[in-house]
């Protein structure tokens, strides 16, 4: 075995040049080469107590797969990851590893932690490029389970159950499987072909995917049970976008991040001659500081905006987005207007001519400057408006990215399904809802959260469903 690599810094991720990538939708991070991967793997000390595994919501056997990389057995590494994760190529790209596995890495105490996420991505990409054998379809155990939604929680739950021999059907409301992985996360961060490949792998395991079926409308949960499914997992995801409730949010040119990203990603408005329109070019303000806000900002830039602002009411330190996304956004020239809170969106109105085609389009966003005051219940310092500090930023488009509330369609059509004050389905530690046989997880339970936490919830529910049905 190669000697441990005691370098304090990890292998840098090769990326497209910031000036170039700001104008295309190709993937930003290019991935490790085999040499880089082996070199990085050799930084892992293979700790006996495996702190990294505790940081992983789906408990991937991290030191084990890294050991396989050290040996150059990349397929072996993939097989170890795939025991715990149904979507390794996705997680390697979008997990906030710096607050999960990598935050627990012993190498991070003095120097940088092992690039676990980068290694996971390398292994999954290697498998998707070179592996030729389709995964073996397990023998059916005769039990049928329905999964609502083909986002990260649904796909994980479906994958875990299929591997155990369950006959699983995934119902997807949109025309393409993948949920937020296809409508929300942009091509340059997660190429659609990678999601399609992961879905294909699940289909090879026997999972059926039915698109264009809206559970709660086309079919109800009760009808799924009538059809012979013995358990239902609801992973229908984020619902209605939140708005700020400030004047001007109905002007033309104001989008929710969900709409803006859906138009660009799922509906392919980023292509040269799209059928779905999107407002592009000009100046764009994104309100919010999460990963979705970063995605929207960088999408706006790639669509041809001359200037993109992130307007966020707290400071850089509180910015909730994944660190790498913030760094990439900064490198690409996104301007961060921190400690600024919007108070009004301003639009064009020509009193002389009500038919002026410019009427009702956004012209700017008024903000007030903020300072950080006392910490709130969560320990985050509460931003407080500075009196008389109002100013206006001239923009043509505003994208509101301040979160979503859980999707309302299922709760409104399923009797006996209890929801909390925010509309999230109430579940126990196994993901079981107040209805017998109905499990739930992901954003429909928690409100907007991460891909990996949704996957964790799908995994927990799959385990509970298996225990309940195999009794």
């Amino acid at each position: 075995m190669a000697k441990a690599n005691m370098s304090l810094t990890r292998n840098a991720m090769p990326t497209q040049d910031a000036q170039v990538r700001a104008h295309n939708f190709d993937e930003v991070a290019l991935g490790y080469t085999e040499e880089m991967a082996i070199d990085e793997a050799n930084r892992c000390l293979n700790c006996k107590h495996m702190p990294c595994v505790n940081g992983c919501p789906v408990k991937i056997h991290i030191p084990e797969f890294i050991s396989k990389i050290k040996e150059g057995d990349f397929e072996g590494a993939y097989q170890i990851i795939s025991k715990s994760s149904s979507l390794p190529a996705v997680c390697g790209r979008v997990c906030p590893q710096e607050v999960q596995c990598e935050s627990k890495c012993v190498r991070g105490i003095k120097g940088e932690s092992v690039g676990i996420g980068r290694l996971e991505r390398f292994v999954a990409d290697w498998h998707n490029t070179f592996a030729t054998e389709a995964p073996e379809r397990p023998a059916s155990n005769g039990h049928r389970v329905a999964v609502v939604g083909s986002g990260p929680s649904g796909l994980t739950c479906a994958g875990d159950l299929a591997k155990k021999g369950y006959e699983v059907t995934v119902y997807e409301a949109l025309h393409t499987a993948g949920g937020v992985l296809v409508y929300g996360i942009p091509e340059f961060r997660l190429p659609k072909k990678i999601v399609a490949k992961e879905v294909e792998t699940l289909e090879q395991l026997g999972v059926k995917v039915e698109t264009n079926v809206v559970i709660g409308k086309t079919l109800t949960i009760d009808e799924l049970f009538d059809m012979g499914y013995e358990a239902v997992f609801v992973g229908s995801g984020a619902g209605l976008p939140n708005f700020m409730g400030i004047p001007g949010e109905s002007y033309k040119g104001v989008y929710s991040a969900n709409e803006f990203l859906t138009r660009s990603n799922l509906m392919k408005a980023y292509l040269d001659n799209p059928e779905t329109p999107i407002m592009k070019g000009g100046k764009v303000a994104i309100v919010g500081g999460g990963n979705v806000a970063m995605d929207a900002a960088r999408t706006a830039l790639r669509l041809g905006a001359e200037k993109v602002y992130i307007v966020y009411r707290r400071s850089m330190e509180e910015l909730p987005a994944r660190k790498e996304e913030v760094e990439h956004a900064e490198e690409e020239g996104i301007e961060f207007r921190l400690l600024c809170n919007p108070t009004e969106i301003v639009g064009y109105n020509n009193p002389e001519d009500p038919r002026d085609p410019k009427n009702g389009f956004v012209t700017g966003i008024k903000c007030v400057k903020m300072e950080l005051g006392e910490p709130d219940a969560k320990g985050r310092r509460r931003p407080v408006a500075i009196p008389d500090s109002e100013f206006e930023i001239e923009v043509d488009t505003v994208v509101i990215s301040i979160g979503t509330s859980p999707n309302p369609l299922i709760k409104s059509t399923t009797e006996g399904l209890e929801v909390n004050a925010h509309g999230g389905i109430i579940v126990n530690e196994d993901g079981l809802s107040s209805r017998a046989g109905v499990y739930a997880g992901g954003d429909v339970v928690t409100g907007a959260a991460t891909v990996i936490s949704a996957m964790g919830a799908g995994k927990t529910a799959a385990k509970a469903i298996d225990e309940a049905l195999s009794k």
């Binding site: 409301a173 264009n212 809206v214 409308k217 619902g239 109905s250 969900n258 509906m267 779905t276 329109p277």
Partner: protein, 284 residues
Amino acid sequence: MYKILDKKVLNPTVIQLQIEAPLVANKARPGQFIILRVDENGERIPLTVAGVNKENGTVKIIFQVVGGTTEKLAHKEAGEYIQDFVGPLGVATHLDGLKKVCIVGGGVGCAIAMPIAEALHEMGADVTSIIGFRNKDLLILEDEFKACSNTLRIMTDDGSYGEHGNVTVPLKEMLEAGEKFDMIITIGPLIMMKFVVLTAKPYGTPVTASMNPIMIDGTGMCGGCRLTLNVDGKKVTKFACVDGPDFNGYEIDFDEAMSRGRMYADFERHAHTEACNLFKKEVQ
């Protein structure tokens, strides 16, 4: 893929298709809508269900050619397929307990009004239908409305058929004469619905208006279909796809809805021209 079983050209720009979609046909009720894509990479557009046949598993849609997508759809023939067809979406029109109803439809909106009029007729309600068109050539569904209306008034803007004038003329006349409707249900251009509300207001007759804003997913995810209601002096944001498409006419901010509806007007015109050019090329 969803098969087109039948196609009927109702007037030069309005087309009726019967689509094979048993799950949708099984569930759809008057007032609900579907979302379709004509082909891969196509746009998602919402269309209100114009009728269903549960036995055959078909859903009837009626649409007017306005942009690139509807132009492409208009060129599809019976026996061909469309890429995606999903629904039924939205909340069905509330008809319970209605005994005397006035249906006010304008243009292609009459296609959506018709199944509501039929349902009311089947319930035994007294149905007055006022349907308006720009001219005689654009008239649709006359026989269907005749069959389910106790009173039918047909209006054309230019007087080329029926009575001369817009739909609010007979509405006002009837209300003035003391007709008491439990509900006025209006479906058509926003400007027409706005004036139906204004006409009904002095008489205090409740008005339900069916909204058809720009949508993408139609399932309560993107928020593009939002509209503003004025509820007891407070502005409330609602989403047509999950809260509607029907709303209390007195609460709707029609001016805002009209403005938002024009967001992509230039794009639509361009897309329509492009689609037309494409078909012209094929013909040559």
